[in-house]
Structure formats: C-alpha cells, structure tokens
Symmetry: C2
Subunit: 262 residues, 2 copies
Amino acid sequence: MQVAVMLQTARPCQDFATPQPRTVLLDVKRVQVTCQTCKLQNLCLSEGLDAEAKSHIDELVTARIRLRKGDTLFRTGIPFTSLYAIRSGSCKTVSLSENGHDQVAGYHMPGEIIGTDGVGTDAHACQAVALEDTEVCVLPFERLAALSRQNRQVQHNLHRLLSREIARERVLMLLLGTMHAEQRLAVFLLDLSQRYQVLGYSSCEFVLRMTREEIGSYLGLTLETVSRVFSRFQREGLVQVQGRVVKLLDRASVKRLVDSSD
Amino acid sequence: MQVAVMLQTARPCQDFATPQPRTVLLDVKRVQVTCQTCKLQNLCLSEGLDAEAKSHIDELVTARIRLRKGDTLFRTGIPFTSLYAIRSGSCKTVSLSENGHDQVAGYHMPGEIIGTDGVGTDAHACQAVALEDTEVCVLPFERLAALSRQNRQVQHNLHRLLSREIARERVLMLLLGTMHAEQRLAVFLLDLSQRYQVLGYSSCEFVLRMTREEIGSYLGLTLETVSRVFSRFQREGLVQVQGRVVKLLDRASVKRLVDSSD
DNA sequence: CGACTAGTTGAGGCCAGTCAATGTTGGTGG
DNA sequence: CCACCAACATTGACTGGCCTCAACTAGTCG
C-alpha cells in the first residue's frame, strides 16, 4: 500500500531521465520528494530519528539516480563516494573473485541501503546491478560521516546499518555452509516473504526479480537445482510456482524444512 | 619476532589472573603495556593515526581480559558493550542457527578486533571462544563512538574496521558458494600464511590452533574431508602436515589450485 | 519467422557426506 | 614411570545429493 504511494510520488522525476547515459544525476531542486515525505523513511537511515536529525538526513540527499533494468550502479574497483538508498525497484550485488567466478551476494529491495562494502576503503568491493527499473537516493558518504560526527542518533543508525550487513552475511554463511538445497531455497522464500510484508506487499504471493541462475548463484546452487527444488516444492503443495510468480501455500511446512536439523 | 616481545611485556599481568572466575578484568593502572608501546598498534584501530589520536585510543583501553583455552569472551545474546582487540593468542567466533547447527564464522589472530557483530545493536550475534590462552584489550564501544565523533581519523578507522569485516565475509561467502574442498583448504592455508607473515611469524610453517572439525565447520566441510584433503596435499607434495603443524612446501601450486576456475 | 533467453526435465557421474574401524596424542592418576 | 582414557585424527567403504551435459519448451524481440 504505502509503496504504491511512493511509486507515484516518484513518477514525476521520470521525465528527466534520458536514455544516454543510462545513469542520470538529478539536481536537488528538481527532486520533489524529500525523505520527510518518503514513506520508506522509517526503513532506512532515518529510523528513530527526531525531526531535526531527519531534516539533516534530508539535506544529505542531493541527487537521485534512475536505473534501467540491467544498469550498473557501481562496479568493483570504482572509487567509493556514496551509499545508495533504494527508493523503488530492486538491485543485486555481485562479488567477483580472481578466478573468474562471481556470486550474487545480495538482493536488495526498497528501503535498503547498499554500497556499505566500500565504507572506509577507497573502492567498491562489489558490483550493483538493477534487476528492474530502479530509483536510488545518493547519500554522499563524506557528508553522512560528518553528520554522524555531529549527531549521535545518526551515528548510531550508521553503525547499525553496517552491523546489519555483517549479520546478514553471517546468516548467508550459515546457509551456504550447513544447509541443503531445499533448506536454502526455503530460507530464501521466507526471507523474501518477510521483506515484502514489511514493505506492505503480500507475504504470500510475490514476483521474483531474479532469474533461476541468479537465485542459484546467491544460494550456492546451480540453476537446474533451483528449478528442480521449485518443482519439488510445487509437487508437495508447499508453493505454487509459475515462472517468477511464487505463491506460498504452506508456510508452516516450509518453515519446518528450515528448522529441521538435517 | 615482535610478537615474542609483546608476549613478554604482557607477562606481568598474569599474576592478577585468578582461576575463578575465568575472565578477569584488570585495572588500567595495573596495565603496564599501553597501546603506544604495543607492537600491534599499527594493525588495529590506531593504524595511521597521529600521536594525539593514538593517545586517545590508548586511554580508551581501560581493561584487559585473560582467557584460558576454551573460555568464552562473549556469547550470543549477551548485551553488547565493547569491542575486543586480541593482544596475544587466538579466538574463534561461532554463529548459531535456530535449527541447532553452528558454524565457525571466523578465526582471529593478534592485532584483530572482534565483536563487530554487536555494533549498533543491543546484543552480540555470535560467540567468541579462545582457542588457546589469550589476552584481549577491552574497547568500550560507547567511548569509542564518542571518540570517533571528535576525531575524523578515529571515525575513519572504525568505519574501515566494520567494512573489512563485511569484505572478509564476502570472501567467505564466495568460498562457501563456489569452491571445492581442495580450493577451500587452499584458501584457508594461504590466508593463514599471509596473516602469520604480517605478524612477523614464518609464512611457511605454522601451527594450527583449530581442530579438523573447527576447520571443517569454518569451510563448510566435514572433519573427514578436511583430513583427507590434508593427506592428499601431502601426498602431492604441496604441504607437509603433522597433526597441527603445517609446512607450506609448494605455495605456487596451492595458489594455482585457488586460481583455477573449477 | 528465426534467434535468443529463460526455464524445465532427464540421465549419468562425481564429489563430499555418512558410518565405522583404527591410529595417535596428550593429560591424569595410581 | 606406566596404564588408562578421552579427544583428536586418519583412512576405508559406501551412499546420495548435487553438478554436468543435453534435449526440449515457452516466451520475447527484431
């Protein structure tokens, strides 16, 4: 519900997006939607801040970027300057290893902030790619750091942001290190469900923005295994899958899969 | 070399350690070794700081804790109050999942700072256990945060500390998600080798502080597989293994294993 | 329409897990 | 000092889950 509103208030900016180059910086004066009116404000850096601190965060957002599906927001090795808050759409982050392997490290939805891998270093350590048409707010990190020196609440939220990323990756490590294919996909689906719910969407029916291959990469599986497990879940009545549309039919059983110790 | 010196300067504190309780807080006045004289200073939070900032960090360390092998520094769910810098010895951090599985999330050596999983939250998200007799410096986080509000350099180092943890976990995710048993152990050995070298130890010969089971848990393998791969590496002349003593004989071949794309 | 991408399904093989037996090490008490 | 025990480690036989390779279908776009 609230997200639908947000999408509409964001619409006017669309006019300023030009096809070439694909990433377009918008002047702050043109931006009609502020953090104050953004329905996602409580999901990201502003959570729990008082009005004054919120307005400071607001001033921080000097630009927004519109991405088309497939566009790269930042790539491995480019200088780190900003964090990015997703306003609408979704992104994946991809880690690259020296031996040519890559892996989807995260799947990010509105209200989430990405780019934390570059904090405190000179360059981004991964790549961020839009999975659909996506709009992000640019948070220049130097200014955010300055603000967090002035305001304890902002500092605390920044710390929490970074530690949440650490905690998120811990969960993934546990998944990759100890879980079977069925459990991995079950965790994936429950996680998505819960996050869609937070955004005000249905927690039972949603559309995947990733391909089977991307899901597989994220979960440490091949695309064939992902497909097979989806089919198995469907056969057993746990979910209904039609391409990228997923309906969670029996959440309890899916949870039980995750909780079982082997 | 330098670590040996550090171990000796740390010795006098031993007198204050009593068997019960196993974790003993030392009054700052009793602590004879300051960060200023600590040979590890450039490895942790003080890296690159000017003299003034360093002395601030120094004042931060109000206590040290001595741990016996097997002692727990903090456990999942206890309130987060401090970060801990390892002065000597080593620790593992362990993630616990709801389904009873646990996993070694990290292996930490002198100069490293642990506890970052609790930053910005109320409680620690994992458990830290000493793998041998270990001494850590307590860094009260509230005071560190206050210091980082006053001093940009300190703030930067704190940010870098957190983002390094994020980056470290990304590497592990890549390992767990895309690599074979041989590659995982190869990465593990090269990582250890490199970190021992930084500490001034031999990069070719070192003693593992973890059991096969702990290594397996860390790498997402069973203890039997770890043992078998060690044996295979030995048979092929890559390393010489005798229990926990490891000699890297053919580093180039070990590297080649990691770099090969499958 | 053909070319392309995404997804499903099957056959077969291999890597790593499981189970089990045995060897090795280190600490403890008589 | 040695016997004993528990924890750690090694090795083998077997199994099975997931990967690989491949064929086929459905949907999309120029």
